[in-house]
């Protein structure tokens, strides 16, 4: 049918709809357009869509996607002590999880030891407490680091935890160039959305480029950063803002690395991304597709990357924690299944599925099992993983992919005008945009413009949920005792020397800090001691909030 004929048909259809709508009004707050036709994508050439494994990667980064092997089913876990978390990791591996993902407690994420007064009440709560190499050895006990791939959600002190991982591998007899995994290492979104920053942006960017450089030579299979939109979305952004702000952060990291003397193709292939799988399935699929196209263009046109790998946006995904409800928690199983479907149709490389009870507490083993089974059911039973990019060609999904891409470019251009992501964060621009979206979401829920089942509609009287996981307060005490015992046993002169050496290295901007941190870690200097030295030299970031 020619476009003219389609337009004539559409006009006829619209006229008929007017009569219907006058008698049966449509629900409020729907997308403006009720129907999509070839006219909505008439300007989209197939070059923009392309083929899997080929530029611009709209349809996926691998040529065969899930027909060869499914995405990595990677469950984020960690709580209490290293021994307790080690048990959970081995349980997950036995249950068919194909990658590890370590959650650290907040003191660890902010570079404090468990015995620091600021850590009181927080030790082992949202993740595992790691004070030194001794804890890391327990965490990976009987787990072959030559075989498993490990993702670590660690940012400000990422260099220290990576060094500990390398040191544990050494002890297992596994060479650094065999290690596979990811550190999150994305400090910019910490300032903008997640909050576990330590140092100001400039030294933080130096640490990140030091890691890029060190790993390109010594740990070549390691993903040196996971540039994260997940937390930006959790903080309340829209889908377009999620990918736009994250890609703007990615641009800033590339610029910093190039400024430090690296060549784009030497590190860009090890950059990875982290998206949120939110509630609106089709919007999410379009978001994944648009993000790959935007990044490919950024790498090719802006940074003149030549290696295909540099242009591929490889992504880990987690289902949206903020969309879990404390009310009727079993409903969350269904939400997570739909979010999983979106991530899979969007073409993710790995996925964590949240558990039904996470709006209430850390998940129990049973809840984690259901979440993992959700992935396995989508993979093996739903058919969604059987053909590549199954929603391509849908008038709506292609039009939405174009729309999200256009909105993302608009934000990226705006951030360029401000002076890049670092400047946009320092000026509070990105934070304010996210806050405004979060507030609008909340107001839409409260006015009923947005329905959340069990929260503002279909509520019931409920008994308080039972059997939630609780981390006992004694965990903190025991962890401090272990730390004290370790400190009494180690070679304290060697620790002191390694910290003095690290301090000197911090003061010399041209020095790569990784080898110095690795030396300190090997002699059991603690995370708090190492970060303490860096705090002395680099200072700490202070946030300014505009409500």
């Amino acid at each position: 049918m020619s476009n003219e004929k389609i337009q004539a048909g559409l006009d006829k259809y619209n006229a008929s709809v007017e009569k219907v709508v006058s008698r049966f009004p449509e629900r409020p707050n729907l997308p403006e357009q009720r129907l999509y036709t070839p006219l909505d994508i008439k300007d989209t050439t197939y070059d923009e869509i392309g083929f899997p494994g080929m530029y611009p990667y709209t349809r996926g980064v691998q040529p065969t996607m899930y027909r060869g092997r499914f995405w990595t089913m990677r469950m984020y876990a960690g709580f209490s002590t290293a021994a307790e978390s080690n048990k959970r990791y081995r349980y997950l591996i036995e249950s068919g999880a194909t990658g590890l993902s370590c959650a650290f407690d907040l003191p660890t994420q902010i570079g404090y030891d468990s015995d620091d007064s600021i850590a009181e009440g927080e030790v082992g709560k949202v993740g595992v407490a790691i004070d030194s190499l001794a804890d890391m050895e327990i965490l990976f006990d009987q787990i072959d680091l030559g075989k498993v791939s490990t993702s670590m959600t660690i940012n400000a002190p990422a260099s220290v935890l990576l060094a500990m991982y390398i040191a544990v591998a050494e002890k297992q007899g596994v060479a650094a160039d065999q290690l596979k995994g990811t550190i999150q290492n994305d400090i910019l979104k910490e300032y903008a959305a997640r909050g576990t920053y330590i140092f100001p942006p400039r030294p933080s960017m130096r640490l990140i480029t030091n890691i890029f450089e060190y790993c390109s030579k010594n740990v070549p299979k390691w993903n040196t950063i996971s540039i994260s939109g997940y937390h930006i979305r959790e903080a309340g952004s829209t889908a377009s803002q999620e990918i736009a702000f994250t890609i703007a952060d990615g641009i800033a990291y590339c610029e910093a690395a190039i400024k430090a003397g690296l060549h784009i193709d030497d590190f860009a292939g090890r950059l990875s991304f982290f998206w949120n799988a939110h509630n609106n399935v089709l919007e999410e699929v379009a978001k994944f597709r648009a993000s790959r196209r935007v990044w490919a263009k950024v790498m090719k046109e802006r940074f003149h990357a030549e290696k295909p790998k540099s242009m591929m946006l490889r992504v880990h995904t987690q289902t949206a924690g903020s969309m879990l409800t404390a009310q009727q928690p079993n409903n969350n199983i269904v939400r997570v299944a739909l979010q999983t479907a979106a991530a899979v149709m969007g073409g993710t490389q790995s996925l964590h599925t949240n558990s039904r009870d996470e709006a209430l507490a850390l998940p129990t083993e049973e809840s984690v099992m259901i979440a993992l089974r959700t992935q396995q059911i989508v993979a093996c039973e739903s058919g969604l993983a059987d053909v590549i990019d199954p929603l391509a060609g849908s008038y709506y999904v292609e039009a939405l992919t174009n729309k999200i891409e256009a909105e993302a470019w608009e934000y990226i251009n705006k951030i360029d005008e401000i002076g890049g992501a670092v400047a946009a964060i320092e000026k509070g621009y990105i934070q304010k945009e996210i806050q405004d979206s979060a507030y609008k979401w909340q107001m839409d829920v409260e006015s009923g413009a947005k329905t959340i089942v069990g929260v503002n509609k279909f509520q019931i009287e409920e008994e308080p949920p039972k059997g939630l996981l609780k981390v006992d307060a004694s965990v903190g005490v025991a962890q401090c005792e272990r730390l004290a015992a370790m400190k009494a046993k180690r070679d304290n002169a060697a620790v002191k020397a390694s910290l003095t050496d690290l301090k000197a290295a911090c003061q010399d901007e041209n020095e790569n800090l990784m080898p110095h941190i690795l030396n300190a870690v090997r002699v059991y200097a603690t995370l708090g001691e190492i970060c303490g030295v860096m705090r002395e030299v680099f200072g700490e970031y202070e946030a300014h909030v505009n409500l």
Binding site: I110, I118, K125, E190, A326, Q442, K470, L547
Partner: protein
């Protein structure tokens, strides 16, 4: 003219999840209160001091890390020690139902869990502030 209600929105502990705190702060401001937000990673001592300095009528704390059993009561103690007996102290975040009785016992007047409309927080403050 009636004096406006002053609220300190505070984030004790180390968790960086302040979406809720910021949304509540803005909703309270839109409801006509004067709102001060502390920012992240405040120690109980800093919160008690800020409450005193800002001469607030209400302290609204948010924690999503699970550190509430330790930190909420500590803030209450310090605030009362400063002689601020009339200050209304409330909390919110990822807080299991079973923890709430102990928090109330410790002097937290009300705990708001995920899914609470901001309007109920406004209403509670108006009804209970001294």
């Amino acid at each position: 003219m009636e004096k406006r209600i002053r609220v300190l929105v505070a984030k004790p502990g180390l968790d960086g999840h302040d979406r809720g705190a910021k949304v509540v702060a803005r909703a309270l401001r839109d409801a006509g209160f004067e709102v001060v937000y502390t920012g992240l990673r405040q120690t109980p001592e800093q919160i008690a001091e800020a409450a005193l300095q800002e001469d607030v009528n209400v302290i609204a704390m948010s924690i999503l890390s699970g550190a509430h059993p330790h930190l909420f009561p500590k803030v209450v103690d310090l605030v009362r020690k400063n002689g601020m007996d009339d200050v209304l102290i409330i909390g919110g975040g990822v807080i299991p139902e079973t923890d709430i009785p102990a928090l109330k016992e410790a002097g937290v007047s009300e705990v708001f869990t995920p899914g609470t409309p901001t309007g109920s927080i406004v209403d509670f403050i108006k009804a209970n502030v001294k």
